[in-house]
């Protein structure tokens, strides 16, 4: 028998005490890990949601004096003259080094064309991309799905006096109005939205792109990097990050991260205290035994190492299981907190285990020192 074995025997034979001490550590660390990994997941979820919220990079032709809005586009005659971007550019964009970060690349094509006798701006977008590219649009009726269908901006709807189910005639063709946009306050209120192929054929330009909107996944937000790479891929284009989007996204995520840190810190303080108190209590309980060990010739260091082994084992086992349960609980609870695909977060678990062990050992020191400082007689007399 050596000190380590003595420690192990003590734990094993005094199971209920060991379990009680372990339970304190288990609960403290479990709660910490659960909350820390839940906040980490929620942070990720907020991040994901923000990433889904529209584009954050805009690609326009460099040579034209275009502002980011639509209003300054000079629309001469029936055709947009400056369409220097083409469908081929999409391939170049999707070929950049950080292409995995690109969630969507959506081409837009704007053209002026007749609509039931009025000259209006038509916005062409791939029909399937509309919901992803403009998630904030509210539509009375339904979005376009097929050729020959259009959405009307709210002002257009009023000017043409048309609503869902009505028709618009252009270039000798008849388009079915499937829906009307609620006012957005943007230029599209005065536009007709149709599938990009339809607008191109009205304009007689079959490969034109007015601008691309790119949505980049923004974890750690290397937007500048992505912008630079797209710029390299398309030397003729002006690539700009929509700074406002990036910044506000960062701000929201940061805010959430701070909240998560605050919650974790509080829980950690409480959990740490629990670990500390239970370990202290269980060492204190053994004062008499410590006295006996001192009486048979244990040096103080032998007492300390005995207690360290004991609390070391307990805190290791209970913090590992606490961390495990904490991660599992966070996974189970995640859907309740709006996390769609829960992923195990391991860094809070590792941190939790480390903290559990350190606190367990720290909690051993004061009562162990006190017990070792007593004379063996006093220790044996204590109850």
């Amino acid at each position: 028998m050596n000190i380590r074995k003595l420690a192990w025997k003590n734990l094993f034979r005094r199971k209920s005490r060991a379990v009680f001490m372990g339970l304190g550590i288990f609960l403290g660390i479990g709660t910490f890990v659960a909350l820390a990994s839940l906040t980490a997941q929620m942070e990720q979820a907020v991040q994901d949601k923000l990433d889904r919220f529209g584009a954050n990079i805009l690609i326009t032709p460099r040579t034209e004096q275009l502002s980011l809005g639509f209003g300054d586009i000079s629309l001469g005659g029936t055709q947009v003259a400056h369409s220097r971007l083409t469908t081929a550019d999409e391939k170049a964009i999707r070929g950049i080094e950080m292409k995995e970060r690109l969630r969507s690349v959506v081409p837009f094509f704007l053209a002026a064309a007749d609509a039931s006798g009025k000259n209006l701006v038509w916005m062409g977008v791939p029909a399937m991309e509309i919901v992803a590219a403009r998630p904030w649009w509210k539509i009375s009726g339904s979005p376009i799905r097929e050729k020959g269908e259009v959405l009307l901006g709210s002002e257009v709807s009023a000017a043409l006096d048309k609503g869902p189910g009505g028709t618009v005639v252009s270039g000798g063709r008849t388009f079915l109005v499937t829906g009307v946009l609620h006012p957005t306050g943007e230029k599209e209120d005065g536009m007709i939205i149709a599938s990009i192929g339809e607008v191109r054929s009205l304009a007689g330009n079959f490969r034109g792109v007015t601008f691309f909107e790119v949505a980049a996944l923004c974890k750690d937000c290397p937007v500048e990097e992505i912008v630079a790479q797209i710029g390299d891929a398309l030397p003729g284009a002006r690539v700009s990050a929509i700074r406002q989007v990036v910044e506000s996204r960062k701000a929201a995520v940061d805010q959430f991260r701070r909240l998560g840190l605050g919650v974790s810190a509080i829980v950690l303080a409480i959990g740490g205290l629990m670990v500390f108190v239970t370990v202290m209590g269980s060492v204190q309980e053994r004062t008499k035994e410590i006295g006996v060990l001192r009486a048979v010739g244990f040096r103080r260091r032998a007492i300390l190492s005995l207690l360290f082994w004991e609390t070391g084992w307990v805190s290791l086992l209970s913090s590992v299981s606490g961390a495990f349960i904490g991660v599992a609980a966070a996974m189970l609870a995640a859907p309740l907190f709006g996390v769609e695909k829960a992923e195990a977060a391991f860094s809070p678990a590792l941190l939790g285990v480390a903290i559990g062990i350190v606190l367990g050992l720290l909690g051993t020191v004061p009562p162990a020192r006190r017990a070792a400082a007593l004379s063996p007689t006093e220790a044996i007399r204590s109850l």
Partner: protein, 226 residues
């Protein structure tokens, strides 16, 4: 040549600030190697205090304790622990075995800080158990042993490091008289084998085994009877 065990003007005050009760008042004592000393006295006379001070389990308020010429008060805490381990075997009235360890393991406890192999430790424990008449009960927990058997285990534990001095504080106090006699026989045997024995006892019938009686009264040596 100094005596084997010597106490010079040893006093012990218990309690701090406020009422300080004197448990020992100016004790002078000198015991030779190989003596079997019985310490008697009323309850509260200071017998346990005297024994624990001799065993280095606590430090007197004043005075000097010398064992084999070494002043215990000059020893650091670690050296005092070493002294207890190497020189003193302490036997308590209440045995003070670790309840969660078997008889063999309890005897191995004092050896656990040592680097000796587990096998050697176990063999030592088993031969000690045999010498106190407990062969075959190595795996019993204290709760599975009688009081007399527990005290035998405690004596075996005290003998682990082959100490020259055995200090026993009412070792038969919790035992019936027959069992107590057997324990006292064991002490007589150890004394004959060369140990210096100091035993606190209430039972004057024990006296015939001893070479000397020291009687305490109110923290003083009342009477020394050779």
């Amino acid at each position: 040549m100094d005596a084997f065990i010597q106490m010079e003007n040893v006093s012990m005050l218990y309690g701090n600030n406020g009422v300080r009760a004197a448990a020992l008042r100016g004790i002078y004592l000198s015991i030779d190697a190989g003596e079997y000393v019985v310490i008697t006295g009323e309850s509260g006379a200071g017998k346990s205090t005297l024994l624990t001070i001799l065993g280095g389990l606590q430090v007197p308020s004043s005075g000097a304790v010398l064992i084999k010429g070494v002043d215990l008060s000059s020893l650091s805490a670690d050296r005092l622990a070493d002294f207890r381990r190497e020189t003193i075997g302490f036997i308590f009235q209440a045995y003070h075995l670790l309840p969660y360890l078997t008889a063999r393991e309890n005897i191995m406890v004092p050896m656990s800080p040592l680097r000796t192999s587990a096998r050697e430790k176990a063999e030592r424990a088993e031969s000690l158990l045999a010498s106190v008449g407990l062969s075959g009960k190595e795996e019993r927990l204290p709760s599975e042993l009688s009081g007399g058997e527990c005290q035998r285990v405690a004596i075996a534990r005290a003998l682990v490091h082959d100490p020259s001095v055995l200090l026993a504080d009412e070792p038969t106090g919790n035992l019936d008289s027959t069992t107590g006699e057997q324990i006292l026989d064991l002490f007589s045997r150890l004394h004959k084998a060369g140990k210096t024995v100091l035993m606190v006892t209430h039972n004057r019938a024990n006296l015939f085994r001893a070479t000397r009686e020291i009687r305490l009264r109110d923290g003083k040596v009342a009477e020394v009877d050779g």
